[in-house]
Subunit: 205 residues, 2 copies
Protein backbone atom coordinates (compact mmCIF):
# COMPACT_ATOMS: atom_id res chain seq x y z
CA UNK A 1 0.00 0.00 0.00
CA UNK A 2 1.40 3.35 -1.03
CA UNK A 3 -0.14 5.93 1.26
CA UNK A 4 0.66 9.43 -0.06
CA UNK A 5 1.15 10.82 3.44
CA UNK A 6 3.94 9.99 5.85
CA UNK A 7 1.73 11.10 8.75
CA UNK A 8 -1.02 8.63 7.91
CA UNK A 9 1.54 5.92 7.22
CA UNK A 10 3.02 6.40 10.71
CA UNK A 11 -0.43 6.25 12.29
CA UNK A 12 -1.27 3.09 10.34
CA UNK A 13 2.00 1.47 11.44
CA UNK A 14 1.27 2.23 15.09
CA UNK A 15 -2.38 1.14 14.95
CA UNK A 16 -1.48 -2.14 13.23
CA UNK A 17 0.84 -3.02 16.14
CA UNK A 18 -2.30 -3.72 18.16
CA UNK A 19 -3.32 -7.39 18.33
CA UNK A 20 -5.72 -8.56 15.63
CA UNK A 21 -5.47 -5.36 13.59
CA UNK A 22 -3.83 -5.55 10.16
CA UNK A 23 -2.70 -2.78 7.83
CA UNK A 24 -6.04 -2.56 5.99
CA UNK A 25 -8.11 -2.23 9.17
CA UNK A 26 -5.58 0.24 10.57
CA UNK A 27 -5.96 2.40 7.46
CA UNK A 28 -9.74 2.26 7.76
CA UNK A 29 -9.51 3.40 11.39
CA UNK A 30 -7.05 6.19 10.53
CA UNK A 31 -9.25 7.49 7.69
CA UNK A 32 -12.26 7.29 10.01
CA UNK A 33 -10.51 9.52 12.55
CA UNK A 34 -9.60 11.94 9.76
CA UNK A 35 -13.22 12.20 8.65
CA UNK A 36 -14.45 12.83 12.19
CA UNK A 37 -14.00 16.11 13.99
CA UNK A 38 -10.68 16.63 15.76
CA UNK A 39 -12.21 16.26 19.25
CA UNK A 40 -12.72 12.53 18.69
CA UNK A 41 -9.02 11.90 18.14
CA UNK A 42 -8.19 14.13 21.11
CA UNK A 43 -10.58 12.21 23.38
CA UNK A 44 -9.14 8.89 22.23
CA UNK A 45 -5.49 9.81 22.70
CA UNK A 46 -6.17 11.48 26.05
CA UNK A 47 -8.03 8.44 27.37
CA UNK A 48 -5.22 6.12 26.25
CA UNK A 49 -2.48 8.31 27.70
CA UNK A 50 -4.27 8.75 31.04
CA UNK A 51 -5.01 5.03 31.26
CA UNK A 52 -1.41 4.05 30.56
CA UNK A 53 0.09 6.62 32.93
CA UNK A 54 -2.34 6.59 35.81
CA UNK A 55 -3.70 3.07 36.13
CA UNK A 56 -2.38 1.33 39.22
CA UNK A 57 -2.38 -2.23 40.35
CA UNK A 58 -4.01 -3.15 43.65
CA UNK A 59 -1.25 -3.75 46.23
CA UNK A 60 -3.23 -6.65 47.71
CA UNK A 61 -4.59 -8.63 44.76
CA UNK A 62 -2.72 -7.08 41.75
CA UNK A 63 -5.98 -6.35 39.97
CA UNK A 64 -6.24 -3.10 37.99
CA UNK A 65 -7.32 -0.19 40.12
CA UNK A 66 -7.53 3.59 40.17
CA UNK A 67 -6.18 3.60 43.72
CA UNK A 68 -3.67 1.74 45.84
CA UNK A 69 -6.31 -0.84 46.74
CA UNK A 70 -8.98 -2.01 44.31
CA UNK A 71 -12.71 -1.68 44.92
CA UNK A 72 -13.08 -5.45 45.50
CA UNK A 73 -10.38 -5.62 48.20
CA UNK A 74 -11.80 -2.48 49.84
CA UNK A 75 -15.41 -3.74 49.87
CA UNK A 76 -16.87 -4.75 53.25
CA UNK A 77 -19.68 -6.69 51.56
CA UNK A 78 -17.32 -9.31 50.21
CA UNK A 79 -16.04 -12.41 51.97
CA UNK A 80 -12.41 -11.68 52.85
CA UNK A 81 -11.91 -15.31 53.89
CA UNK A 82 -11.94 -16.67 50.33
CA UNK A 83 -9.43 -15.87 47.58
CA UNK A 84 -9.88 -16.87 43.95
CA UNK A 85 -6.57 -17.21 42.08
CA UNK A 86 -6.72 -16.16 38.41
CA UNK A 87 -4.17 -15.69 35.65
CA UNK A 88 -5.24 -12.38 34.28
CA UNK A 89 -7.32 -9.25 34.85
CA UNK A 90 -9.75 -10.42 32.18
CA UNK A 91 -10.51 -13.52 34.26
CA UNK A 92 -11.54 -11.29 37.17
CA UNK A 93 -13.97 -9.49 34.85
CA UNK A 94 -15.32 -12.81 33.54
CA UNK A 95 -15.97 -14.19 37.03
CA UNK A 96 -17.42 -10.87 38.25
CA UNK A 97 -19.85 -10.98 35.31
CA UNK A 98 -21.32 -14.26 36.60
CA UNK A 99 -22.50 -12.53 39.82
CA UNK A 100 -21.88 -15.82 41.64
CA UNK A 101 -18.71 -15.11 43.56
CA UNK A 102 -18.47 -12.93 46.64
CA UNK A 103 -14.87 -13.46 47.76
CA UNK A 104 -11.64 -11.71 46.82
CA UNK A 105 -9.18 -12.34 43.99
CA UNK A 106 -5.48 -12.79 43.43
CA UNK A 107 -4.14 -12.01 39.95
CA UNK A 108 -1.06 -14.14 39.25
CA UNK A 109 -0.01 -12.31 36.08
CA UNK A 110 0.44 -15.57 34.17
CA UNK A 111 1.03 -19.27 34.77
CA UNK A 112 4.21 -21.27 35.32
CA UNK A 113 5.57 -22.14 31.87
CA UNK A 114 9.14 -23.48 31.65
CA UNK A 115 8.96 -23.28 27.83
CA UNK A 116 8.28 -19.54 27.94
CA UNK A 117 10.76 -19.10 30.78
CA UNK A 118 8.10 -18.18 33.33
CA UNK A 119 8.97 -19.59 36.74
CA UNK A 120 7.15 -19.09 40.08
CA UNK A 121 9.24 -16.01 40.86
CA UNK A 122 7.89 -14.17 37.77
CA UNK A 123 4.36 -14.42 39.19
CA UNK A 124 2.76 -12.87 42.28
CA UNK A 125 2.95 -16.16 44.19
CA UNK A 126 4.99 -14.89 47.15
CA UNK A 127 2.49 -12.09 47.63
CA UNK A 128 -0.31 -14.71 47.77
CA UNK A 129 1.57 -16.80 50.37
CA UNK A 130 2.07 -13.62 52.38
CA UNK A 131 -1.66 -12.81 52.17
CA UNK A 132 -2.70 -16.18 53.59
CA UNK A 133 0.04 -16.06 56.28
CA UNK A 134 -0.79 -12.63 57.68
CA UNK A 135 -2.83 -12.52 60.84
CA UNK A 136 -5.96 -10.44 60.32
CA UNK A 137 -9.49 -10.14 61.62
CA UNK A 138 -10.77 -12.29 58.79
CA UNK A 139 -8.18 -15.00 58.14
CA UNK A 140 -8.17 -16.70 54.72
CA UNK A 141 -9.98 -20.04 54.97
CA UNK A 142 -10.03 -21.16 51.35
CA UNK A 143 -8.15 -20.50 48.13
CA UNK A 144 -9.97 -21.35 44.88
CA UNK A 145 -7.88 -22.06 41.78
CA UNK A 146 -9.52 -20.67 38.64
CA UNK A 147 -6.76 -21.25 36.09
CA UNK A 148 -6.98 -22.49 32.50
CA UNK A 149 -7.41 -26.21 31.92
CA UNK A 150 -4.05 -26.38 30.14
CA UNK A 151 -0.94 -28.22 31.29
CA UNK A 152 0.61 -24.93 32.44
CA UNK A 153 -2.54 -24.05 34.37
CA UNK A 154 -2.63 -27.44 36.07
CA UNK A 155 1.09 -27.27 36.92
CA UNK A 156 0.57 -23.87 38.52
CA UNK A 157 -2.46 -25.13 40.47
CA UNK A 158 -0.52 -28.13 41.82
CA UNK A 159 2.45 -25.98 42.78
CA UNK A 160 0.24 -23.45 44.57
CA UNK A 161 -1.82 -26.19 46.28
CA UNK A 162 1.38 -27.68 47.71
CA UNK A 163 2.59 -24.32 49.00
CA UNK A 164 -0.82 -23.44 50.47
CA UNK A 165 -1.36 -26.85 52.12
CA UNK A 166 1.90 -26.25 54.00
CA UNK A 167 0.21 -23.19 55.47
CA UNK A 168 -2.85 -25.23 56.40
CA UNK A 169 -5.14 -23.52 53.92
CA UNK A 170 -8.00 -25.35 52.20
CA UNK A 171 -7.44 -25.35 48.43
CA UNK A 172 -10.09 -26.05 45.79
CA UNK A 173 -10.31 -25.71 42.02
CA UNK A 174 -13.20 -24.75 39.78
CA UNK A 175 -15.03 -27.76 38.31
CA UNK A 176 -14.00 -29.13 34.94
CA UNK A 177 -16.86 -30.73 33.11
CA UNK A 178 -19.46 -30.47 30.42
CA UNK A 179 -20.51 -26.86 29.70
CA UNK A 180 -24.12 -25.97 30.42
CA UNK A 181 -26.01 -26.74 27.20
CA UNK A 182 -23.21 -29.01 25.96
CA UNK A 183 -23.98 -32.46 24.60
CA UNK A 184 -22.32 -35.60 25.93
CA UNK A 185 -21.39 -37.08 22.56
CA UNK A 186 -19.43 -34.00 21.49
CA UNK A 187 -17.43 -33.73 24.72
CA UNK A 188 -13.82 -34.95 24.58
CA UNK A 189 -12.94 -38.09 26.58
CA UNK A 190 -10.70 -36.40 29.12
CA UNK A 191 -13.33 -33.83 30.08
CA UNK A 192 -16.03 -36.48 30.19
CA UNK A 193 -13.83 -38.81 32.25
CA UNK A 194 -13.02 -36.04 34.71
CA UNK A 195 -16.65 -34.99 35.01
CA UNK A 196 -17.58 -38.57 35.99
CA UNK A 197 -14.76 -38.88 38.52
CA UNK A 198 -15.59 -35.51 40.10
CA UNK A 199 -19.36 -36.06 40.07
CA UNK A 200 -21.51 -34.05 42.44
CA UNK A 201 -23.91 -35.75 44.88
CA UNK A 202 -27.51 -34.60 44.79
CA UNK A 203 -28.52 -33.74 48.32
CA UNK A 204 -31.10 -36.25 49.60
CA UNK A 205 -33.49 -33.55 50.74
Amino acid sequence: MNIPSKLIEDAVTEISRLPGIGKKTALRLALHLLKQSEVHTEALTLALTRMREEVQYCKICHNISDDEHCSICKSHRRDHGVICVVEDIRDVLAIENTDQYQGLYHVLGGVISPIQGIGPEELTIESLIERVSTDSEEPVKEVIMALSGTMEGDTTSFYLAKRLHEKGIKVSTIARGIPVGGELEYTDEITLGRSIMTRINYSSE
Copy 2:
Protein backbone atom coordinates in the same frame (compact mmCIF):
# COMPACT_ATOMS: atom_id res chain seq x y z
CA MET B 1 -18.98 -5.42 31.93
CA ASN B 2 -17.92 -3.97 35.24
CA ILE B 3 -14.37 -2.73 34.81
CA PRO B 4 -12.90 -1.85 38.21
CA SER B 5 -11.06 1.17 36.84
CA LYS B 6 -12.64 4.37 35.55
CA LEU B 7 -9.48 5.06 33.52
CA ILE B 8 -9.71 1.78 31.62
CA GLU B 9 -13.45 2.20 31.20
CA ASP B 10 -12.92 5.61 29.59
CA ALA B 11 -10.28 4.19 27.28
CA VAL B 12 -12.57 1.29 26.32
CA THR B 13 -15.42 3.71 25.59
CA GLU B 14 -13.21 5.79 23.32
CA ILE B 15 -11.68 2.81 21.51
CA SER B 16 -15.08 1.24 20.91
CA ARG B 17 -16.23 4.39 19.09
CA LEU B 18 -14.01 3.28 16.20
CA PRO B 19 -15.85 1.46 13.39
CA GLY B 20 -16.00 -2.32 13.73
CA ILE B 21 -14.63 -2.39 17.28
CA GLY B 22 -16.95 -3.51 20.07
CA LYS B 23 -16.55 -3.30 23.85
CA LYS B 24 -14.85 -6.69 24.14
CA THR B 25 -12.25 -5.98 21.47
CA ALA B 26 -11.71 -2.51 22.93
CA LEU B 27 -10.99 -4.03 26.34
CA ARG B 28 -8.57 -6.51 24.78
CA LEU B 29 -6.72 -3.65 23.07
CA ALA B 30 -6.66 -1.56 26.27
CA LEU B 31 -5.28 -4.45 28.34
CA HIS B 32 -2.72 -5.12 25.61
CA LEU B 33 -1.46 -1.54 25.85
CA LEU B 34 -1.29 -1.87 29.64
CA LYS B 35 0.84 -5.00 29.35
CA GLN B 36 3.23 -3.39 26.89
CA SER B 37 5.82 -0.82 27.89
CA GLU B 38 4.64 2.78 28.09
CA VAL B 39 6.52 3.82 24.93
CA HIS B 40 4.07 1.86 22.76
CA THR B 41 1.09 3.87 23.98
CA GLU B 42 3.07 7.09 23.59
CA ALA B 43 4.04 6.24 20.01
CA LEU B 44 0.43 5.40 19.15
CA THR B 45 -1.12 8.53 20.63
CA LEU B 46 1.59 10.77 19.16
CA ALA B 47 1.11 9.30 15.68
CA LEU B 48 -2.67 9.75 15.90
CA THR B 49 -2.43 13.31 17.20
CA ARG B 50 0.11 14.34 14.58
CA MET B 51 -1.91 12.74 11.81
CA ARG B 52 -5.13 14.45 12.86
CA GLU B 53 -3.53 17.84 13.36
CA GLU B 54 -1.06 18.00 10.51
CA VAL B 55 -2.52 16.09 7.58
CA GLN B 56 -3.55 18.41 4.76
CA TYR B 57 -5.67 17.94 1.71
CA CYS B 58 -4.21 18.64 -1.71
CA LYS B 59 -5.56 21.97 -2.96
CA ILE B 60 -5.85 20.60 -6.48
CA CYS B 61 -7.30 17.10 -6.16
CA HIS B 62 -8.39 16.98 -2.45
CA ASN B 63 -6.36 13.84 -1.86
CA ILE B 64 -4.59 13.49 1.51
CA SER B 65 -1.16 15.07 1.49
CA ASP B 66 1.61 16.22 3.80
CA ASP B 67 1.92 19.43 1.77
CA GLU B 68 -0.30 21.90 -0.02
CA HIS B 69 -0.12 19.80 -3.18
CA CYS B 70 -0.02 15.99 -3.14
CA SER B 71 2.78 13.93 -4.62
CA ILE B 72 0.58 12.78 -7.53
CA CYS B 73 -0.39 16.31 -8.61
CA LYS B 74 3.24 17.44 -8.24
CA SER B 75 4.66 14.57 -10.28
CA HIS B 76 6.00 15.38 -13.75
CA ARG B 77 5.89 11.72 -14.76
CA ARG B 78 2.10 11.59 -14.68
CA ASP B 79 -0.30 12.55 -17.44
CA HIS B 80 -1.82 15.88 -16.37
CA GLY B 81 -4.32 15.66 -19.23
CA VAL B 82 -6.41 12.89 -17.62
CA ILE B 83 -8.36 13.13 -14.35
CA CYS B 84 -9.92 10.14 -12.61
CA VAL B 85 -12.88 11.12 -10.39
CA VAL B 86 -13.24 9.01 -7.22
CA GLU B 87 -15.44 9.17 -4.16
CA ASP B 88 -12.89 8.66 -1.46
CA ILE B 89 -9.20 8.64 -0.57
CA ARG B 90 -9.31 4.85 -0.29
CA ASP B 91 -10.31 4.62 -3.95
CA VAL B 92 -7.15 6.53 -4.91
CA LEU B 93 -5.09 3.98 -2.98
CA ALA B 94 -6.96 1.08 -4.61
CA ILE B 95 -6.38 2.43 -8.14
CA GLU B 96 -2.75 3.32 -7.37
CA ASN B 97 -2.21 -0.28 -6.22
CA THR B 98 -3.16 -1.56 -9.68
CA ASP B 99 -0.15 0.27 -11.23
CA GLN B 100 -2.26 0.75 -14.37
CA TYR B 101 -3.17 4.42 -14.21
CA GLN B 102 -0.79 7.29 -14.89
CA GLY B 103 -3.14 10.30 -14.79
CA LEU B 104 -4.28 12.53 -11.93
CA TYR B 105 -7.22 12.19 -9.53
CA HIS B 106 -10.07 14.23 -8.17
CA VAL B 107 -11.50 13.18 -4.80
CA LEU B 108 -15.19 14.14 -4.62
CA GLY B 109 -15.59 13.43 -0.90
CA GLY B 110 -18.78 11.42 -1.48
CA VAL B 111 -21.54 10.97 -4.02
CA ILE B 112 -24.79 12.83 -4.61
CA SER B 113 -27.39 11.25 -2.30
CA PRO B 114 -30.67 13.12 -1.77
CA ILE B 115 -31.64 10.62 0.97
CA GLN B 116 -28.56 11.48 3.02
CA GLY B 117 -28.94 15.16 2.16
CA ILE B 118 -25.77 15.28 0.06
CA GLY B 119 -26.21 17.60 -2.92
CA PRO B 120 -23.62 18.65 -5.54
CA GLU B 121 -22.56 21.63 -3.40
CA GLU B 122 -21.41 19.33 -0.55
CA LEU B 123 -18.87 17.73 -2.90
CA THR B 124 -15.77 19.13 -4.61
CA ILE B 125 -17.57 19.37 -7.96
CA GLU B 126 -17.05 23.10 -8.53
CA SER B 127 -13.33 22.64 -7.94
CA LEU B 128 -13.32 19.93 -10.66
CA ILE B 129 -15.15 22.19 -13.13
CA GLU B 130 -12.60 24.89 -12.37
CA ARG B 131 -9.73 22.45 -12.94
CA VAL B 132 -10.95 21.52 -16.42
CA SER B 133 -11.75 25.16 -17.30
CA THR B 134 -8.39 26.68 -16.37
CA ASP B 135 -5.96 27.32 -19.20
CA SER B 136 -2.68 25.54 -18.55
CA GLU B 137 0.22 24.03 -20.47
CA GLU B 138 -1.38 20.62 -20.30
CA PRO B 139 -5.14 21.06 -20.71
CA VAL B 140 -7.43 18.30 -19.42
CA LYS B 141 -8.51 16.09 -22.31
CA GLU B 142 -10.43 13.36 -20.51
CA VAL B 143 -12.21 12.80 -17.20
CA ILE B 144 -12.70 9.18 -16.12
CA MET B 145 -15.52 8.40 -13.68
CA ALA B 146 -14.51 5.71 -11.18
CA LEU B 147 -17.50 5.79 -8.85
CA SER B 148 -19.38 2.91 -7.21
CA GLY B 149 -21.88 0.99 -9.30
CA THR B 150 -24.73 2.11 -7.03
CA MET B 151 -27.64 4.36 -7.92
CA GLU B 152 -25.97 7.28 -6.12
CA GLY B 153 -22.71 6.63 -7.96
CA ASP B 154 -24.47 6.52 -11.33
CA THR B 155 -26.46 9.70 -10.56
CA THR B 156 -23.25 11.51 -9.69
CA SER B 157 -21.55 10.25 -12.86
CA PHE B 158 -24.45 11.43 -15.04
CA TYR B 159 -24.55 14.83 -13.34
CA LEU B 160 -20.79 15.30 -13.75
CA ALA B 161 -20.85 14.06 -17.35
CA LYS B 162 -23.48 16.68 -18.20
CA ARG B 163 -21.48 19.49 -16.58
CA LEU B 164 -18.22 18.36 -18.20
CA HIS B 165 -19.71 17.91 -21.67
CA GLU B 166 -20.79 21.57 -21.50
CA LYS B 167 -17.08 22.39 -21.18
CA GLY B 168 -16.27 20.17 -24.17
CA ILE B 169 -14.39 17.58 -22.12
CA LYS B 170 -14.39 13.90 -23.06
CA VAL B 171 -15.96 11.86 -20.25
CA SER B 172 -15.61 8.10 -19.76
CA THR B 173 -16.42 5.62 -17.00
CA ILE B 174 -14.63 2.51 -15.79
CA ALA B 175 -16.04 -0.69 -17.29
CA ARG B 176 -18.74 -2.59 -15.42
CA GLY B 177 -18.63 -6.29 -16.12
CA ILE B 178 -17.66 -9.72 -14.97
CA PRO B 179 -14.71 -9.69 -12.53
CA VAL B 180 -11.54 -11.43 -13.69
CA GLY B 181 -11.91 -15.06 -12.57
CA GLY B 182 -15.69 -14.67 -12.22
CA GLU B 183 -18.06 -17.23 -13.71
CA LEU B 184 -20.92 -16.30 -16.02
CA GLU B 185 -23.62 -18.30 -14.28
CA TYR B 186 -23.04 -16.60 -10.93
CA THR B 187 -23.08 -13.07 -12.34
CA ASP B 188 -26.26 -11.07 -11.75
CA GLU B 189 -28.38 -10.22 -14.82
CA ILE B 190 -27.81 -6.48 -14.75
CA THR B 191 -24.02 -6.83 -14.71
CA LEU B 192 -24.14 -9.52 -17.40
CA GLY B 193 -26.53 -7.44 -19.53
CA ARG B 194 -24.29 -4.39 -19.24
CA SER B 195 -21.17 -6.37 -20.03
CA ILE B 196 -22.76 -7.57 -23.28
CA MET B 197 -23.97 -4.10 -24.26
CA THR B 198 -20.55 -2.54 -23.53
CA ARG B 199 -18.55 -5.37 -25.13
CA ILE B 200 -15.00 -4.67 -26.24
CA ASN B 201 -13.85 -5.31 -29.82
CA TYR B 202 -10.77 -7.47 -30.24
CA SER B 203 -8.37 -5.62 -32.48
CA SER B 204 -8.02 -7.43 -35.83
CA GLU B 205 -4.23 -7.42 -35.72
